[in-house]
Subunit: 404 residues, 2 copies
Amino acid sequence: MAMYSPQPVESACYPRGFRAAGVTCGIKASGRPDLAMIVSETRCEAAAMFTQNRFAAAPVVVSRRHGRNGARAIIASSGNANACTGEQGERDALAMCEAAGRAIGAPAEEVFVCSTGVIGVPLPMDKIEAGIPRVAAALSPTGWESAADAICTTDAFRKMAGRRFEVGGKDVRLIGMAKGAGMIHPNMATMFCFLATDAAVESGCLPTVLRPAVRDSFNSISVDGDTSTNDTVILLANGAAGNAAIRRGSAEAAVFENAVRDICIELARMMVRDGEGATKLVTLRITGARSDDEARQVARSLANSILVKMAFLGEDPNWGRIAAALGNAGVELDPRQCSVGFDGMRVLDRGTLTGADRGALAAAMKKPEFSVEVDLGTGGSGAAIFWTCDISDAYVSFNAHYTT
Amino acid sequence: MAMYSPQPVESACYPRGFRAAGVTCGIKASGRPDLAMIVSETRCEAAAMFTQNRFAAAPVVVSRRHGRNGARAIIASSGNANACTGEQGERDALAMCEAAGRAIGAPAEEVFVCSTGVIGVPLPMDKIEAGIPRVAAALSPTGWESAADAICTTDAFRKMAGRRFEVGGKDVRLIGMAKGAGMIHPNMATMFCFLATDAAVESGCLPTVLRPAVRDSFNSISVDGDTSTNDTVILLANGAAGNAAIRRGSAEAAVFENAVRDICIELARMMVRDGEGATKLVTLRITGARSDDEARQVARSLANSILVKMAFLGEDPNWGRIAAALGNAGVELDPRQCSVGFDGMRVLDRGTLTGADRGALAAAMKKPEFSVEVDLGTGGSGAAIFWTCDISDAYVSFNAHYTT
């Protein structure tokens, strides 16, 4: 899957009133781009979601306080996570917001800051503070790709997605960029997603749109079950499309929410594809749960089971491992009601083996993408879709021998 | 660690009034021993603990109902787990108890049954029913090693431990045997532990002894976080030592409990050592938690983190991964109060990096056994000890390419 390369995003999706750029400021020894900035000409409505990890990194601590009354910009660096860096780390994260704010004439509280890379090492602030005016000077309405490149760490490819849709007869544009290979990176263990739209959105509406989209995308993927200290998703909406502001709970909000969810799912799937050395992108389809939450809990148990991942790598339709992971999901279930299938071929039907053709099952699992279906048979209609991948020999080599 | 071989158990630890044996009945294609039996001359007090997996296998379903009013025997087969085998599986498990009971003149309800091996395939009952009279005929007071061999599947070595201790001036003997390599085996994913003692124990005392011993041993190890459908721990006490029956909560019960815990920990550590391809046995020492349960929860998060395991394999003192796993443990903690050490060398002291010598840290991690210490600094005195291992390239090869 390392050869996978997503389609570029059409520039017609670039939202109006935003500029973006990425430059090399010298954090990465490799000389690759490591400082990105996204700026709106006007103050945006903003919603952000952050890692649940208790060891939240300094930029997360600072960003959580920012954007409460709107935001103008995101400043993001790669190569150093500014995590586990104590009070100095928080001062540095704030200094990045201040420098970015100065460069565009905005208060620091209107700037979100994100960093990804090695943990426990102070940021090279001299390089970053010299870089911020440069990245600000490089800002351009078409600079999205260079920004997307500058947030990558070990990503094998750039991750972007875009949509155009209509709201109240107005053309609305939405772009998203992401980094991360499913939270699997050792010291660069982070996912970011930055979304920018020119939709006009009423205050309070954005979080209600972002939350379910993140639940169904970035919170529905797993590579190795670890959650980074820096994970951040930010959605900015500047209103340049000129539509009547989208109201919470309206039909327009539903259209907007679907577009945001679509982009998030597209980016999340790219992350799973990018799991170092992963050879399989597996879609888990859970049905028949008492609730969607219960279905997600079951999906997570399957997605994180090392033995299930090993079966994916081995192209082995080993439903016994699926059953064992189901039984460990912490959900009340009756094995006699459970059904399991691989790529649409049912191997277990309400607790009874179907005698499905082993050859056909194995053939399905030889594909780079396939699905696993589980029906819990509780009588409920709770369902979830989740994406996961295998753990390969290459993953082990990379992650064991990666040095701090 | 494949070369590791535990000391044999002195026959002086063999409990009186018990006989054991293992034979080949033909479940395993390899022709290796696959049917074990442990029998007491008299009815024993019995305590048993079983997998929490909702897909509990048929022998677990049957054994849960047995031994309520004492037990005479354990019949255990290896090579086929009798798991996910539906009602036929339960009939077969019960038939094993009946056949074993007939062979020794005991009702089926006084026989525990255990099976381990492939999932989803009916037991070859003709072979097993022919084998049970043979294993019963082979029973001997010194047959423990042959029984221990016959419960192995992919185990690299036999797992036994024994103790002698005094209770009320009487010589008491306790023996334990186990199988399993930390629940990591694909279709043979099971741990068993059978404990037999000649101590006299009052009714109701045994479960109170077994529960904390299992908590501190088999529930304090992790190889890959998966729990099998067949996990079973059984403790039989036949009173042949002639001591005054040990009463729940007495000083004698504490002596007995310590012996049971010791043996369980010894066997549990053998399982972690036996994790296929594992190269490191790592002891996690968690202190400063609000409660022991909280400390265990933190230990489990560390023990199951794939990235932490990869760091162990890579001999990398990567405390950032430890911190990330701590932050994901689901426990309320303050990073500024947390301390982390490797083999006694503190790298993080109440949230501040100590600048510990990287060379010394790496040297510690090159050893086949080392420890990781975490102090949560909550002000509480909750603590836990947990054992885990790395995931190696060999583990991946074995588990991915193991075929049903």
